[in-house]
Symmetry: C2
Subunit: 382 residues, 2 copies
């Protein structure tokens, strides 16, 4: 996809993946970028996460983001931090920046193995030379075992543009599913405003994706703004939200072994926070995920997942619909099970919940639980 | 198994299950029983759970527990409460008790369908007449799709006896996995002491079982004491703990689709609570469960599950062992992967974690995640 103004991106193979697939990506700009970051809540986190968080509190002079796939550089101790610094420093030197603090980093792949720094350092020059105004090469380079390329773009009324690129849940020995998202815009927006918008956007989108409840030490969702084109704040927020939401759904749909995207839409909650909590719990319930896989309109599992979510509601008042078919309304409702099951054969399954408690609402995105998920995650040795 | 003194138990088929298998069970005593109860934390809970909780705050004159399988009597509204009351009243009347408040109830099975009360009422007489001094008939009657009978007994030094019976994670349309446990003892113990002991025992055992993270609205673990034989308090507590622990492990081992029992033993935590939280998170992690299924000594998944558990620790200091093989010690350790994987082919897999933070410790019990789990829970229509 065509990048917003002020951005150059590239992706190459630096030899980090045995498959020879692209594994090294770069986004950079000829001017300073405003940026915001959402990162993993896991106490265990990779060197790149720690470094970006540190930079978040300081330097306002970010110019580039370098990403490698194939090695997570996590649980690699002091050496891992040094290797991560070296990656940033090499990019800064090659681009002629003032210093490594102008370069953010991200890694995804194998946990607990030292990063092949020589390959990284050797890759910086060809990576920078491959730079162009399209996002595709970069988008390909950040994937691990994702089955699909994940990109989304929106043009704002005033001419500004938002382009987002993400990777989702692939597995690499010995691994976990890392979510990375990089959203770029040429809209004019202050650092403070961008960070406020991104917080609102990310909690409603990337934070609402659940594949299996396990979180990665490398998860990151980042926005970068090059400040070239005037834009209305609300338009920008809406565009970022739309791109983030689309990437979040792409990630859930491409969850390991998944055959269906599950969207859980909760309304009538006491607050938006409680709506999101309830939606996430339903979308993450193994019993609900398995029922969706079997096209089973099993409202009992949905109700009981809501019950353990922590959201306030009265089971004798809440409503549940599956593919817009009302199945529970404070008590079991009569409905055509065969027809509802047939509707659930779709690759998009919508679970609607009205908690009847207030005005809070939120979505969560998940995927069905399949035998393939187990095979992918159990049988890596075979 | 032979019951403790003062208990009579039975189990029959009352026609609640289409299979014709036993589905109606009774425990009673000719004297008042002291009792304690741990029940589901799910906001959605069945009529039996609500009624037992109410009785917990009042009547000290419990004489019987009646249990049906095949119907959970949950999400059945006001009618469900009336049906549950009717079951207790019928048992009280038949046994000649002072009133229904002397009878506790438990149900497991289909959610959202009205209980077949006529079958229940007709079953009370044959159920009471089948009473004897063995627990086996009762143990069989409370099962749903459990593959194994779950019973455990310990004799105390002074002659008192503890017998426990449980059911675990079976599935009945449209359903969820309900855990029920009933532990009986003839030891002399006050209501207050029994409740204190049970709280300590249950949080360390039944609360530490995880099959898939979904909780049932019918979960219950109950202890009943007939006060016939003098017993040392510590001996009794140890015996209850041993029986509860064994039942908890039996439930985890018989989890849906499971081929292995996973025991996670956390030591060195800041507190016992944090140790239990950490152990439960690892035992419940889908990625860890799948890795155990594949006999993959994948410490990265264990470390990252610990990281999201909420327990305090330093990833650069904690230790992890799989089948007693040290695999991580603040940094990756060299170990024989092939040999460790071979050790993990056992039906008992032990994950040991030392958080190096303090003296807190705790176990959790789980099972491996298999393609059969998905089949059981996705394909009930086929």
């Amino acid at each position: 996809m065509k990048l917003p103004e002020g951005f150059v991106a590239s992706g190459i193979s630096a030899g980090l993946k045995r498959s020879g697939k692209p594994d090294f990506g770069l986004i950079h700009s000829d001017g300073p970028l405003n940026w915001a970051l959402l990162s993993t809540t896991n106490l265990v986190h990779a060197a790149c996460v720690a470094r970006n968080r540190f930079l978040l509190g300081g330097g306002d002079n970010v110019r580039a983001v370098v990403v490698n796939s194939g090695n997570a550089n996590c649980a690699t101790g002091e050496q891992g931090a040094l290797d991560n610094d070296a990656m940033a420093a090499a990019v800064a030197a090659h681009l002629g920046l003032a210093g490594p603090d102008e370069v953010l980093t991200a890694s995804t792949g194998v946990v607990g193995l030292r990063m092949p720094v020589d390959a990284i350092l050797a890759g910086v020059r060809p990576l920078a030379e491959a730079g162009g105004d399209e996002s595709d090469g970069f988008a390909r380079a950040i994937l691990t075992t994702d089955l699909t390329l994940k990109q989304s773009a929106v043009d704002l009324p005033g001419g500004a543009r938002v382009v987002g690129v993400a990777k989702g849940s692939g597995m690499i020995h010995p691994n976990m599913a890392t979510m990375l998202a990089f959203v770029m815009t040429d809209a004019q927006v202050s650092q403070a405003e961008l960070r406020q918008i991104w917080q609102d956007v990310a909690v409603a989108t990337f934070n609402q994706v659940t594949v299996d409840g396990d979180t990665s030490p490398n998860d990151m969702a980042m926005v970068l703004a090059s400040n070239r084109v005037p834009a209305d704040r609300d338009d920008l927020a809406a565009a970022l939200r739309q791109v983030a939401d689309e990437l979040a759904r792409m990630i859930a749909r491409d969850g390991e072994g998944a055959t269906k995207l599950i969207t859980v839409r909760v309304t009538g909650a006491f607050s938006d926070d409680e709506a999101r909590l309830a939606a996430r719990t339903v979308a993450g319930s193994p019993l609900t995920k398995a029922a969706v896989h079997g096209s089973d309109p099993n409202w009992g599992r949905i109700l009981v997942a809501l019950g353990r979510s922590g959201a306030q509601f009265d089971p004798a008042r809440c409503h549940i619909a599956v593919q817009d078919v009302p199945v529970y309304g404070g008590a079991p409702l009569p409905f055509d099970e065969a027809r509802t099951s047939a509707l659930m054969e779709s690759p998009d399954v919508l679970i609607g919940v009205d908690l009847k408690m207030g005005g809070g609402q939120g979505n969560a995105y998940g995927c069905d639980l399949t035998a393939d998920y187990v095979r992918i995650n159990a049988d890596y040795r075979t």
